[in-house]
Structure formats: structure tokens, C-alpha cells
């Protein structure tokens, strides 16, 4: 594992594309393994593409481009400008609320971040928000999707860790809403200091708001339709992105009558490049993920951490810190699959409710996708918005602080998480 890490870091430092650095580092395992044939490296790349939930990535990327081309975004933006521009950092607030609404739809932080980079990002830049701040708001607010149901990560956690998924879903609602509030406060504080979204300080008059709402009706209906179509049993959360594409096409052609063949072709072109860029990283990480499991790295880490500790609070704290560190480097789905079966028995034995732990764990490992050195959500947002990573990192610090504060609150008061599931299931 030492050699693999060195290969990865060296390639990254000399400026190799992230996908190539991850791919070569993972391939090092197969080159040096006395028993695992080289060809299995290829198998692990291919296998990643066979994950059904991952199909949501191309759908939402394409839907985002089509919504731009269909004027859906513009009209939504005009409406939200009238509705919330009186608030400090109004567009950032829109992004955060939209993520909360979409959390129940896209189920994946990366897909949400990709879509909002297309839908909200350009509008924020146009309105004078700094690139780093824009990228940070969009990336960090996509974390809300990790806890609001139906989150694919929570389904995975419940399945692997034998924890009630119904309870996990109920448990995620209040932390998700709290995260929205915490992030809105952080966005407000920074925006106030920097003077973002403070131009039109007057509250909107009802007539203008109504007209803007009517103009944006197809856009405003969109999240509602997505949620209704899932709750009504038409789509699974993994499929609903396909509906988003069809809906954007229909609205653009029949509703707004702006979607020409030329615009559609342009949207597909942008989507193809974005999908290729995001997915090559994810495909290449298949080899690295396999190496980590085969070398039993998680078990070694667990033995190391828990060997000398006996105080339950210390153990849980160490686990959460360990998860955060692992999340810096490893994709969240892989971590959930890998560590849930190891960690759930440990936290149960020290008296922590696995439902409570699941919400904390999902929040932390998904947060890892928003941090350097490896963060798929971060890479996605920064490249789609053409943002230097150091700008992103600097401007995301207040939002990290907000998330950290929330994690401490949730850790200290389990009742916040467990109140709803206990109410529902007794």
C-alpha cells in the first residue's frame, strides 16, 4: 500500500490528470501482486460501470445542460432573484434550499453538485459572487443529499450493516434540514461581509413575484414532479434522472418553445465531455478500491485504532476522525461498503445506536468527496465552474466549520437524529 500511495502522490504533484494518477496507482497493485493477474485490473474498471445508481450521473449532467438550453434555469433564476435577492447572499441561499429539495431526488451528492454547477453556478458568477465561494456553496450544500431520504448511501449502509433502512430514512430528515439552516447561516455571514446579493434590498411586490412565478412554472413544478413521480411509484431514485432529461426536453420544445436542434446538439456535446471527465476518474478508481480491500487495509486500520482504547466516547470519536481521514482519499460508496460491516458491530458494542451512527458516518464520508486531495464532488464542481482549487478550499472553510458544528451537535444530542424514527417505529 505504501508504494501505491507514493505512485499516486508523485503523479498528482507532477500534474498528471487525476484519472490517470488514480488509475496508475491502482494498477501498481496488480503489477506487484504475485497472485492477482494483470487482466483483473481491466475487470475492475469495467465493473464500476455496472453500478445502476451511477447511471444517475449522466442523466443529471445531461438534464442540467438541457435545462440551461430550455431557459428553465433562466426563468428559475429570474423568479428566485425577485423572491430572495432581498436576502443577503440570496443566490447562495437558493442553491442550499434547492439542494434540500433535490436531496429527495438525486440521492447522490456528486449528481446534485454537477447539476447545480450548471443550473445555479453561472447565475451566481454573473451576479458577482466569487468563483471560490460559488463552488464552495454548491459543493458543500450537495452534502444535504447524503442524509435527506432516499439517499443511495443510506440504503447501502442499511443493507451492508443490517440496519433498518426505514429508520435511517426517518433519521436523516431532521439532520438534513438542520444542515440546510447551518449552511444558510454560514452563507449569510460570508455574503454579508463581502457584500454579495445586497444590491436590491427591497422586498418584492406581490404582482412581480406572481408574474415571475408564472413564467417559471415549469421549472418550479420540476422538483415537485420528481418527488411525486418517485413517491407515486413511477421511478426509482436511480431512474428519475432519465425523467429529468425527458422533462427538460419537453418543456424546452413545447412549453418554452426555445429548444432548437442546434441547442440540443450543444447540450449533448457539453454533457458528453462532462460525463467523460467525471466517469473516467470513477472508472479508474475501481482498481484502487479493489487493492484496498484485497490488502485488507480497513481491517488493519481498525485493529490499529481500537487496539489500545476502551472508553466508548473516545472510540466513537476516533472512528469518526478515522472516517474523515479515509474520506479525504477514498470515494464514499467504497468506504460505506468497506467499513460498515467492520464499524457497526464496534459502535453497537459500545452502546451507540447504529441508526445514529449511520447518519454521522454518511455525513462524514460524503464530506470527504468535497475535500482535497481526492474529492469527486470537489473536482466536478471546480472543473465545471473553472475554479482554482485553492480558491475553492479557502472559501469553503466557513461551510466546513458549519458542517463540523452540526456534526458535534448531532454527536452530543442523539435525540435529534433518533426522535423521528422512534416516533414512527416505536
Amino acid at each position: 500500500m505504501g508504494l501505491i500511495s507514493i505512485v499516486f502522490m508523485v503523479l498528482l504533484i507532477v500534474g498528471a490528470p487525476v484519472a490517470i494518477a488514480i488509475g496508475m496507482a491502482g494498477f501498481t497493485f496488480f503489477l506487484t501482486s504475485p497472485i492477482m493477474p494483470l487482466s483483473i485490473g481491466v475487470q475492475k474498471i469495467a465493473t464500476v460501470s455496472q453500478s445502476f445508481p451511477l447511471l444517475a450521473v449522466p442523466f443529471f449532467v445531461l438534464a442540467g445542460h438541457l435545462m440551461n438550453a430550455s431557459d428553465i434555469t433562466d426563468r428559475l433564476f429570474k423568479f428566485s432573484r425577485i423572491a430572495v435577492s432581498w436576502m443577503t447572499g440570496g443566490l447562495a441561499q437558493v442553491s442550499i434550499i434547492l439542494s434540500t429539495l433535490m436531496g429527495g431526488v438525486s440521492g447522490s451528492a456528486v449528481a446534485d453538485a454537477a447539476m447545480q454547477s450548471r443550473v445555479v453556478g453561472p447565475q451566481m458568477l454573473q451576479a458577482g459572487y466569487a468563483r471560490g465561494y460559488t463552488a464552495a456553496v454548491i459543493a458543500l450544500s450537495s452534502l444535504i443529499t447524503a442524509t435527506i431520504p432516499p439517499s443511495i448511501g443510506l440504503i447501502l449502509y442499511g443493507y451492508v450493516g443490517q440496519v433498518s433502512i426505514g429508520r435511517l430514512f426517518m433519521a436523516g430528515i431532521v439532520p438534513g434540514l438542520l444542515m440546510m439552516i447551518f449552511l444558510m447561516v454560514a452563507a449569510w455571514l460570508v455574503a454579508k461581509r463581502r457584500g454579495y446579493g445586497t444590491v436590491a434590498r427591497e422586498r418584492p411586490e406581490a404582482g412581480a413575484l406572481g408574474r415571475a412565478a408564472w413564467d417559471a412554472k415549469w421549472a418550479l413544478l420540476f422538483p415537485v414532479l420528481l418527488i411525486v413521480s418517485i413517491r407515486g411509484g413511477l421511478f426509482t431514485p436511480s431512474e428519475v434522472g432519465a425523467f429529468a432529461v425527458v422533462y427538460a426536453l419537453l418543456v424546452g420544445m413545447l412549453g418554452h418553445r426555445v429548444l432548437s436542434v442546434e441547442r440540443i446538439k450543444r447540450a449533448f456535446g457539453h454533457a458528453l465531455s462532462d460525463i467523460g471527465m467525471i466517469m473516467l476518474i470513477i472508472l479508474m478508481s475501481g482498481m484502487l478500491g479493489f487493492a484496498i480491500i484485497f490488502l485488507r487495509v480497513p481491517q488493519d486500520v481498525a485493529d490499529l485504532l481500537l487496539g489500545g482504547l476502551s472508553n466508548p466516547h473516545v472510540i466513537v470519536a476516533v472512528i469518526l476522525i478515522g472516517l474523515f481521514v479515509a474520506g479525504l482519499f477514498v470515494e464514499s460508496t467504497i468506504l460505506v461498503l468497506l467499513l460498515t460491516p467492520i464499524l457497526v458491530p464496534v459502535v453497537k458494542s459500545v452502546g451507540v445506536d447504529p441508526v445514529h451512527f449511520g447518519i454521522l458516518m454518511m455525513t462524514i464520508v460524503t464530506l470527504g468527496g468535497m475535500t482535497p486531495p481526492v474529492g469527486v464532488a470537489m473536482f466536478t464542481v471546480c472543473s465545471l465552474l473553472d475554479t482554482p482549487i485553492e480558491d475553492y478550499v479557502r472559501d469553503s472553510l466557513p461551510f466546513f466549520a458549519a458542517i463540523l458544528a452540526l456534526i458535534l451537535v448531532l454527536l452530543t444530542f442523539p435525540v435529534i437524529t433518533l426522535f423521528l424514527p422512534n416516533l414512527m417505529f416505536g
Binding site: M36, G232, T236, P237, F290, I293, L338
Partner: protein
């Protein structure tokens, strides 16, 4: 010190009763070979989907995987019949089939033709039952029910013949699909029902036992051939014995799981399986297993 390491992958979680058998296999192999062969277990499909691990084995890697006959049918067609409806009742019935001389002939053919070595095929996961939100007593009750099943022809054929509409979908999606009525039902064995928490989203389990889920431990024939004779014998003997431990463990857990389901408010009902059995009889002929059906059923019923 160990001379050989075999990495064993399974889709099951560590809490599944079958996993106890794998742990016994690990301990017993270490003992029987005096530590020369080490078994490392990878639950939750950590090394990849079953087909990936079979591919690794065919490429010569020392890996093994717990798979059902359907996964092997593409290499050796006869294995597919193990998933056919109402082939044998309970573990004792199906065990006779998978320890017979006839079955051993298929095992040899699989090793020669596909480079895959069966260590033992007596890892019983239970009988598969119907999971619905309406009571079911005859095939007609299944009309219009979208029922999740694995997409293999033998499974979709069986569910179709029983009267429901077979709806393939990844197992991991089933919980949310049931809770939002994307599908109306599923079919699974007892340990899998509670393993995926499906009792939260269905109200009725009808004990049809339409498919008797027997799985086997399969490894690389190339690697297996490279072992000294005594280790080969030890691995196969211990695999058979551990399979019994796993299967009896599964059988002993069924009652507790049924109680757990009822406690969760699920109605678990017995049913006269005769009409289901008659409805699915044609599935064998459609898949070319007609000749095997009577021979294997007679063997299982002995």
C-alpha cells in the same frame, strides 16, 4: 507458515447464517492442512460481483466464490437445473442431488471446459417464498403483480408461470422500489428477507418454496490442480463438511426468522403448493431440462 492462500468471496453479510459455515471452513482447513492453506473471507461481495470472481478464478487467481447454479449454467448447462422450480424439498432433498455421482460428472466437466473447480455444492440458503402486500393462496392471486426476480430465464420463467409479472432489478434497489410501489412484490429466502429489511415494506410472506436455493463454493481449476494431492483432498472434504454446518445453521435459523417476521407484523402463511407446482411444470421443458426433471426429483425424494 502457510504455503497457499485462498480468498473466498460471498455476496452474503457476516450476519447471514451461511457465513458461520465459511468461518468453520476457514478454521477447519487451517487445522486439517496444519496451516499450509490459509482461507481469507471477503463478505458483502468485497472482491466484486459473483461473475467477476469467477472470471478472476478462470484467469488463475486463488479466489473462490459462493454461487448458485445459474451463474455456472453459461459454462455447463446442467447446473442451471438446480434453480428450477420445485426440484427438491428442504436441504435433505437437494443435498442428495448435489452429492450424487451424476452431479460429480458435471463438476468434472465444468473443470475441464471452463477452468472452474467446485469444492462442494451443499451450501443451502433456504427455499424462496413470495413477498407481497396482498394475501396469496392460488396463482390467480398473482395476476398483475410486478414481482422482482433475478433476470435469469429460469427465474423469470418460473415467476411468469406462477402468474406474476417478473420484473428484474438489482437486489439493492428492491427495498426502495417496494416502499414506493415501483414493484408490488419480490421473492426471496428467509435470511435474505430480514437481511435486506424487506419486512418493513411487505405485509405477506407466502411459503411457496418455489425455488430451493442451493449454492456452491467454486474456485480456480488451474490453481486447484497446482496443489499437492493431499491439500486438494483436504479442501474438498472440508468444503463438504462446512457446507453441512452452514446449511444446518441456516435450517436452524428459519424458525427464529419466521418469528421475527411475525413480530414485525408480517403475515406468514402456509399454502397448498400443488397449483403452483402444476403451473410451473412447463418451465423445465422450455429450458431443455425436461429429461433431467424426473430423474433428479426421484433422486431427491429417495
Amino acid at each position: 507458515a502457510q504455503d497457499y492462500t485462498l480468498s473466498v468471496n460471498t455476496a452474503l453479510a457476516e450476519s447471514d447464517p451461511l457465513y458461520k459455515g465459511l468461518e468453520a471452513f476457514r478454521e477447519n482447513v487451517a487445522e486439517a492442512t496444519e496451516g499450509r492453506v490459509a482461507i481469507v473471507l471477503y463478505p458483502n461481495s468485497q472482491l466484486g460481483p459473483d461473475e467477476d470472481v469467477l472470471e478472476q478464478a478462470r484467469a488463475g487467481a486463488p479466489v473462490a466464490v459462493v454461487v448458485d447454479g445459474g451463474r455456472l449454467a453459461v459454462f455447463q448447462n446442467e447446473f442451471g437445473v438446480l434453480g428450477a422450480p420445485f426440484l427438491a424439498a428442504g436441504y435433505d432433498g437437494i443435498r442428495k442431488v448435489v452429492t450424487s455421482d451424476k452431479f460429480e460428472g458435471w463438476v468434472d466437466a465444468l473443470a475441464d471446459n471452463a477452468g472452474l473447480q467446485v469444492l462442494s455444492f451443499n451450501w443451502w440458503q433456504g427455499e424462496r417464498h413470495l413477498l407481497t402486500n396482498v394475501p396469496v393462496s392460488v396463482p390467480a392471486d398473482l395476476a398483475g403483480i410486478r414481482m422482482r426476480t433475478p433476470g435469469a430465464p429460469v427465474w423469470t420463467g418460473t415467476i411468469n408461470a406462477m402468474g406474476a409479472t417478473p420484473t428484474p432489478m438489482p437486489w439493492g434497489e428492491v427495498y426502495s422500489a417496494l416502499s414506493s410501489n415501483v414493484i408490488d412484490g419480490a421473492e426471496a429466502q428467509f435470511p435474505a428477507i430480514v437481511g435486506a429489511n424487506l419486512h418493513e415494506v411487505i405485509s405477506h410472506v407466502t411459503k411457496t418454496g418455489h425455488i430451493n436455493l442451493i449454492t456452491g463454493l467454486v474456485t480456480s481449476a488451474g490453481w486447484f490442480e497446482s496443489l499437492p494431492e493431499d491439500l486438494r483432498t483436504a479442501l474438498r472434504d472440508e468444503a463438504l463438511e462446512a457446507g453441512d454446518i452452514a446449511s444446518y445453521g441456516t435450517r436452524d435459523s428459519l424458525e427464529a426468522i419466521e418469528a421475527q417476521l411475525q413480530e414485525a407484523g408480517v403475515t406468514v402463511s402456509e399454502v397448498d403448493t400443488t397449483p403452483f407446482r402444476e403451473a410451473t411444470a412447463a418451465v423445465y421443458d422450455e429450458l431443455g431440462y425436461g429429461a433431467l426433471r424426473d430423474e433428479l426429483r426421484a433422486m431427491a425424494a429417495e
